[in-house]
């Protein structure tokens, strides 16, 4: 049986969160009335010139730096010439000869090992407009034309659909952490195309196909797994791979040929004469460096070791930088990491989703979370009460201490008081008491429940259980 090796390279485009477009002062708002965020420049009117958005350049260098690329000390733009209806100038201002960053990598944690996925280059370019087909006509909305895009091209170092999915997720996390892109694949702020080939192991790259329409990380995995499998079947049956573009069809669960890839389009690249060389100076590089943050996968690892958290908890907390920041701030304020992480991952997460809020928008603050943790960790409240407290933090926008104090919810831990309740319950439940005395411990939970009910949940359940056993089952 021939052993095949697969090669996947990704071309990722991210829409940068700059205030204005790449080469003009139009705002980058989306979803508005068509052609309302346009000007002569991004419409490609006669006589206009591009003016470089330095915020976009800075974000580009930030991503390149985070991906360990060699940063260009001098970068410039090239014109990529081709005709298409959504292109206002029928050339795209892009980068070809001197991209912002080259030769970097992103590390993936695969089980116990780490794999470095090479980054070929990072470069800046402008987006085209949007074409809409309706009722036999085509319409053009240029709101998106001229917005800043950053293109990241990887080396063909990925081998499976799973790896590609993980890469996309990791990369998405990274750009969200850096604050340069919201990473929303459904809305198109992060787009991914793939080049896939297989070959007999040790023979280098094979003939590649381009796979498009990968609108979610899940599709990335499914489509690329399918494509590798398809190519293998073709080769095994003695056929040759056709170099073409294929699209993932979710309905058919397959990649379908979109068009035969003609010999590479001649874009006639030449340096953009309207924009001078961009030179990075000390100031600029310092600014880029100051915007670097601890990257998601490194932060995850640190959370596991530093806070002794299970991996899934660390992963959840580090999925969004805001959550990780919130968590660490709470810990700084005295929260127990385990407690804070458990509550963030369960009840708090559920309420945020239910109410459609982000942590930042919510009434929960790191201080309040630390308070809650304090109450729980010192057994002043039990987890059942804690759940109610959390709900009230959200609905009343007040702190846990206050809530507990107002309602007198502190756990009843006084042995005497609990004993009184236990005695009452035992007397009211003679059948269960008899069972326990006889050695059958099954009804203990039920009796504890009765004590809780009678105390409106405030009795210390541990203490209640101890006392019940003490009184009824002294062996």
């Amino acid at each position: 049986m021939t052993e095949y090796q697969s090669f996947i390279g990704l071309e990722i485009h991210i829409r940068l969160l700059t205030r204005t477009k790449a080469f003009c002062g139009c705002r980058t708002a989306f979803g508005d009335e068509p052609n309302t965020h346009v000007c002569p420049v991004c419409l490609g009117y006669p006589g206009v010139l591009p003016a470089l958005n330095e915020e976009a350049v800075e974000m580009g260098y930030l991503v390149a730096r985070a991906l360990h690329c060699t940063l260009a000390s001098e970068t410039f733009f090239d014109r990529k010439n081709y005709f298409y209806p959504d292109m206002p100038k029928n050339y795209q201002i892009s980068q070809f000869l001197a991209p912002i960053g080259r030769g970097g990598y992103l590390e993936l944690a695969l089980g116990d090992t780490r794999k470095r996925i090479g980054i070929h280059d990072v470069h800046l370019e402008e987006d085209a407009g949007k074409m809409i087909h309706r009722g036999g006509s085509s319409y053009l909305d240029y709101n998106r034309a001229g917005t800043s895009l950053l293109e990241i091209v990887t080396e063909p170092d990925l081998e499976t659909g799973e790896e590609a999915e993980q890469f996309i997720q990791e990369f998405r996390s990274l750009v969200r952490y850096l604050g340069v892109c919201d990473g929303n694949m459904e809305e198109g702020s992060l787009k991914c195309d793939a080049n896939v080939s297989i070959n007999v192991r040790g023979s280098g790259l094979g003939i590649k196909t381009e796979v498009k329409n990968l609108n979610s990380s899940k599709f990335v995995k499914k489509a690329l797994s399918y494509e590798i499998n398809r190519q293998q079947k073709v080769l095994e049956s003695g056929g040759l791979i056709v170099q073409e573009t294929r699209g993932w069809d979710e309905g058919k669960n397959a990649t379908e040929s979109m068009r035969t890839k003609e010999s590479a389009h001649d874009y006639r690249y030449f340096p953009e004469p309207d924009l001078p060389l961009f030179r990075t100076d000390g100031e600029f590089l310092k600014r880029v460096e100051s915007r670097l943050v601890e990257l998601p996968h490194l932060r995850r690892e640190r959370f596991v070791t530093e806070y002794s958290l299970p991996e899934e908890h660390a992963a959840f907390l580090c999925d969004e930088k805001e959550t990780a920041d919130f968590f660490e701030e709470a810990v700084r304020m005295g929260a127990d990491p385990g407690t804070a992480s458990a509550w963030l991952g369960a009840d708090i997460r559920r309420i945020l989703k239910r109410d459609g809020l982000t942590l930042e928008e919510s009434p929960l603050t790191p201080t309040r979370l630390a308070e809650l943790s304090g109450l729980l960790d010192t057994d002043r409240i039990n987890s059942k009460i804690a759940k109610q407290v959390v709900e009230l933090i959200f609905s009343e926008d007040s702190g846990p201490e206050e809530i507990v104090r107002e309602r007198g919810w502190e756990q009843i831990r006084d042995t005497g008081a609990v004993e009184k309740l236990v005695d009452t319950v035992i007397s009211e439940q003679p059948k269960a008491a008899e069972q326990i005395e006889a050695g059958d411990l099954k009804p203990v939970g039920f009796l504890v429940g009765q004590v809780m009910k009678m105390s409106a949940g405030q009795a210390d359940p541990q203490l209640a259980k101890e006392l019940i056993l003490q009184k009824l089952n002294n062996n």
Partner: protein
């Protein structure tokens, strides 16, 4: 200048002026659109908006109420921006070029848009798809190009100054053909924002005037770094007044070694003698790389043009072919029907020289020649303060068959194209009349940012050899009295 200022303050003067213009226009057709009221409106709107000009204070006093013409590839809101082409024949500009904005802020009034070779491609203005312009000195001759309309309007006394653009000689050559002054500034010193792009790395907005002093004043107004044009810049350090470093030596080429008509050679020799008489030292120089001016210029210009003109596809503005069934058909027909033959030629050749596999041979090589030419000038300016050269191998030639064919015209750009390749400033000035009473012009070139030297020399020349005005050109203010 005061007489010009009266124009829009005095009904009688204005009326006489407009008759004067109509009279001339029947003979020369320099304007594609003559409309002072729209110009007045542009100035008022600009003032009303309280907009500040993008950079620098303007020389307000001397340009207030002065009328001027604008080549039709420079945007003025409210006026058409046809570029002499059918593809933009009905296009009206929604914004104003920075250079024009500065003039508006200074109080000047754009009275109309002038004719030009289509998209700046040509040396006669006969490549305009919207009509011919005739040389005011002899209507059987071309006005030169591509800023022929601007030069003709100034020569006929219709405006005291006009804006044009110079990509390979397009201000200097028509200025020479029409017996007026034409300035091609240092690349980047005047914002290109609002100049319809033909060859981005070669071209710029420049000025045509009937006198050297006004040339300097208008340039002072329109120059300056513009945040909307990232290729624009201010001169580094202090702009040196010509007086600080006196212009002493002028470099000239051996007249026998330059290929040109005898009458032009004669004027070149005479001009050299006259500068010597004025006290300048004249020294012979050589710049061997200049032999490759034309191929380098056209390779780069056409390459950039093929890209710059790709935007004209009939979708957002401009001519759209009717009845097309598909996008491809619409674009192909709009461009085929909308562009003239010279434009199509340059787009095709430009696309060719950028093709992968050919770029090294053509485009990159041309850029290397360009560097060699620039180095050649730098070296020469080490020994001379200015360089004197003819503008064109012929004077104004006849329309049609009797003139230069398109290929000959391209070869004839050898004297002007060099300054564009090197980015240096050049000033064309009237150097005398030849046998048939036709103007002959010469040009001075200076190192980058040294326009001051050009103005100083031009002023001295003008003092000593005041150029004749075109027959029928009225004295300013005396529009009613002229007989054309």
């Amino acid at each position: 200048m005061d007489a010009w200022k009266q124009l829009f303050r005095d009904e009688t003067a204005r009326s006489a002026y407009e008759s004067y213009v109509s009279g001339w226009e029947e003979k020369i057709r320099s304007f594609l659109r003559f409309d002072p009221d729209t110009g007045l409106g542009a100035r008022e709107r600009f003032r009303d908006r309280g907009e500040q000009s993008p950079s620098g204070p303007a020389d307000t006093e001397s340009l207030t109420d002065i009328p001027f013409a604008v080549k039709d590839n420079i945007a003025v809101e409210g006026f058409p921006l046809t570029c002499g082409s059918k593809i933009l024949e009905k296009f009206e500009s929604p914004y104003t070029a920075t250079a024009v904005e500065k003039l508006l802020r200074a109080g000047a009034i754009p009275v109309g848009k002038t004719n030009m070779d289509e998209f700046g491609m040509g040396s006669s203005t006969d490549n305009s798809a919207l009509g011919k312009t005739n040389n005011p000195w002899d209507t059987g001759l071309v006005a030169g190009g591509s800023s022929g309309g601007s030069a003709a309007a100034v020569a006929a006394g219709l405006v005291p100054f006009a804006l044009g653009s110079d990509t390979g000689g397009s201000i200097r050559q028509p200025a020479a053909f029409c017996g007026v002054y034409g300035l091609k500034p240092t690349y980047g010193t005047v914002s290109r924002y609002g100049l319809v792009a033909y060859a981005s790395s070669l071209e710029g907005i420049g000025v045509v005037t009937a006198g050297a002093g006004l040339l300097e004043r208008v340039y002072a107004c329109i120059r300056g770094r513009d945040p909307r044009d990232h290729s624009s810049l201010d001169p580094p350090g202090e702009t040196r007044a010509a007086e600080k470093r006196p212009v002493r030596t002028i470099g000239v080429f051996d007249p026998r070694k330059l290929d040109m008509r005898e009458e032009v050679r004669g004027v070149y020799r005479l001009t050299i003698e006259r500068f010597e008489k004025l006290g300048y030292n004249v020294r012979e120089i050589e710049i061997p790389a200049l032999e490759y001016t034309v191929p380098a210029y056209y390779t780069i210009a056409m390459a950039e043009a093929s890209s710059n003109l790709a935007r004209y596809n009939g979708i957002r503005y401009g001519y759209r072919a009717k009845g097309a069934e598909t996008y491809e058909e619409m674009v192909m027909r709009s461009r085929s029907e909308g562009f003239g033959p010279e434009v199509k030629l340059r787009i095709l050749l430009g696309t060719y020289v950028l093709r992968s596999g050919f770029q090294d041979q053509y485009y990159l090589r041309a850029q290397k020649i360009r560097t060699a030419i620039r180095n050649g000038f730098d070296a020469s300016f080490g020994g001379v303060d200015l360089i004197l050269m003819p503008v064109y191998p012929t004077n104004a030639f006849p329309h049609g068959e009797g003139g230069l064919d398109p290929f000959e015209q391209k070869l004839a750009d050898k004297f002007t194209g060099a300054a564009n390749l090197a980015g240096i400033p050049a000033l064309a000035f009237p150097a005398g009349l030849t046998g048939g009473g036709i103007p002959s012009g010469m040009q001075l070139m200076a190192p980058p940012f040294e326009e001051g030297r050009l103005f100083a020399a031009a002023r001295r020349w003008e003092e000593a050899y005041p150029p004749p005005r075109c027959p029928g050109c009225a004295e300013t203010g005396k529009w009613g009295e002229s007989r054309q």
